[in-house]
């Protein structure tokens, strides 16, 4: 029984770290792939909307939580941030942080 629990825990930890390290679209957490509708992945795109690729995950998370609470004023991001839990936001932030050009 204990052994089963240990194995389960180990698998769980491995899955989590694999997710955090993964940078491909196959491993994108729920919601992440929608962001590039507005936040370009390519540098060449002419827009004032910031890119998310390679940014510090803590910064993305902090901004999203501030949009969600209304602390940080926005035009549209408050409405979007309210659709995600803190854990979902952290997963999306970690995935964008792990992506490279």
């Amino acid at each position: 029984m204990n052994a089963t629990r240990l194995v389960t825990a180990a698998v769980f930890v491995f899955a989590l770290s694999a997710r955090a390290l993964a940078a491909g679209p196959a491993d994108a957490p729920p919601g992440a792939l929608s962001c590039s509708g507005c936040h370009a992945t390519a540098r060449s795109v002419d827009t004032t909307v910031p890119r998310l690729i390679g940014r510090n995950p803590a910064d993305i998370t902090a901004a999203m939580l501030a949009f969600k609470s209304g602390q940080l004023p926005s035009t549209v991001m408050d409405r979007i941030a309210k659709g995600f839990s803190e854990d979902e936001i952290k997963a999306i932030a970690a995935w964008y942080g792990a992506q490279k050009d």
């Binding site: 491909g24 509708g37 936040h39 004032t48 035009t75 549209v76 995600f84």
Partner: protein, 425 residues
């Protein structure tokens, strides 16, 4: 804890059953490849889906079937109609797809053999698939509005598929005398781009105000409510006194058109127009019907996790053609759905299970060139549909200052550049 010993024979039996239940990567494995996916339609949904499948799993062979060598984007085409943008800024090609190893088949899809899993093209080619993705956009229901035929659309353009129709409406507006009447008819739900008729009305009103101020614009609507309604109506009150919106309950539903008399007919009366823009009833693009994935509504019911058809296995539908619950028929939605569908298809062709997605939509509309408003939503699968995540989404603040409207107009521009760059660049 007891462990049941499984005999080797039992294990093999179970494993074999599991493999067949997972719907078979077997043929693909037998070929030593990663499976074959055919995508029909090279718009925001199809082009996105094809490239993402390849990015997710380069072993999968991906072909996009698209007969037009150039894609003409609908978002921002209302600016083309009023002369604030050229059609060339709406055009995108498929030249970058080869570098991604995505094959483009420049021919229409004419038949689908769902049983034998193949698509036949107009040039006779037969493309076998493990998974088929349909992103055919919309077709006009030529039987949906008495008098409104393909020939009628040459006099009363719909301009609801960007291209020649867009330019025709533009020429008609340019040719109209000052003091003329423009009539737009808006259809009942559902249809492509829910705020589109009202953005178009706004921008045509802007054009008339600046170029032909004695003219007026009437929107005849088959609905009593529409997307971003309060935002549009507040802006119209402030900016466009010559714009009149006639709702369903005040006689706005057009029941037939008389092209010869340039007249739109409602149950309440007849409206003579100098320029008539008929936005007619619509349905999923024709190949959806051919493949058997469209239901009696004319649209395609899908599973909200994988976008697989609820009617025909191994065929997925994304974009305007799909019944995507709370998600509107928009380019942003098509792009977001296509990425989720790509991830699901890549999993399914290799025997995996798609993960539960979340999706976002954001739609900008321009009330004037420097006056933008938006609607946004976040969606998740629930009860077999895509539903709004409670507490999220909504429209721009009703009382925002003009600086916010200007900022949203800038974001609208940025959005267009981003989505077209991401999909075609």
């Amino acid at each position: 804890m007891t462990v049941k010993r499984t005999s080797r024979r039992e294990f093999l039996k179970t494993a074999a059953a599991g493999a067949s239940a997972a719907m078979l990567p077997l043929p693909a494995i037998a070929q030593g490849a990663g499976g074959r996916v055919v995508v029909v339609g090279g718009g925001f949904g199809g082009a996105t889906c094809a490239r993402f499948i390849k990015r997710i799993d380069p072993r999968i062979a991906v072909t996009v079937v698209e007969q037009n060598p150039t894609f003409i984007a609908c978002p921002f085409s209302n600016l083309v109609i009023v002369g604030l943008r050229e059609l060339s800024a709406q055009q995108f090609g498929y030249d970058k797809f080869a570098a991604d190893q995505v094959t483009v088949a420049p021919s229409p899809a004419t038949a689908v053999d769902a049983q034998g899993r193949s698509v036949t093209l107009g040039n006779g080619t037969r493309l076998p698939y493990d998974r088929l993705v349909l992103s055919p956009g919309i077709d006009i229901r030529w039987d949906g509005l008495p008098g409104y035929t393909e020939a009628a659309a040459e006099r009363m353009p719909h301009a609801w598929k960007a291209g020649e129709q867009t330019l025709l409406l533009r020429r008609q507006l340019e040719a109209m005398e000052d003091g003329g009447t423009v009539v737009i008819t808006a259809p009942a739900n559902p249809f492509r781009c829910p705020p589109g008729p009202y953005e178009r009305g706004s921008l045509i009103a802007y054009y008339l105000k600046t170029k032909k101020p004695k003219s007026k614009l009437i929107i005849l609507d088959a609905k009593d409510a529409f997307s971003k309604q309060r935002l549009f109506q507040n802006a119209w009150k402030a900016l466009y006194p010559n714009l009149e919106w006639v709702s369903l309950s005040t006689g706005g539903k057009v029941t037939s058109v008389d092209v010869g008399a340039m007249t739109l007919v409602t149950d309440f009366g007849r409206h003579k127009a100098d320029v008539a823009n008929v936005i007619p009833p619509q349905k999923a693009g024709r190949i959806a019907e051919i493949a058997g994935v469209a239901d009696r509504t004319g649209w395609c019911p899908i599973d909200p996790v994988s976008f697989e058809s609820k009617l025909v296995p191994n065929i997925h539908v994304v974009g305007d053609a799909s019944i995507a619950g709370a998600m509107p028929k928009s380019a942003f939605s098509a792009n977001a759905q296509a990425k989720v569908c790509a991830a699901a298809v890549a999993k399914l062709v290799t025997g995996g299970t798609p993960q539960e997605p979340k999706l976002i939509n954001t739609c900008y509309s321009l009330v004037a060139p420097d006056y933008g408003i938006s609607v946004a939503g976040v969606y998740r699968p629930a009860d077999g549909q895509l539903k709004d995540v409670e507490g999220s989404g909504g429209v721009s603040a009703i009382d925002a200052p003009s600086s916010t409207r200007a900022l949203e107009a800038t974001f609208a521009n940025g959005w267009f550049n981003t989505i077209t760059g991401e999909v075609f660049g």
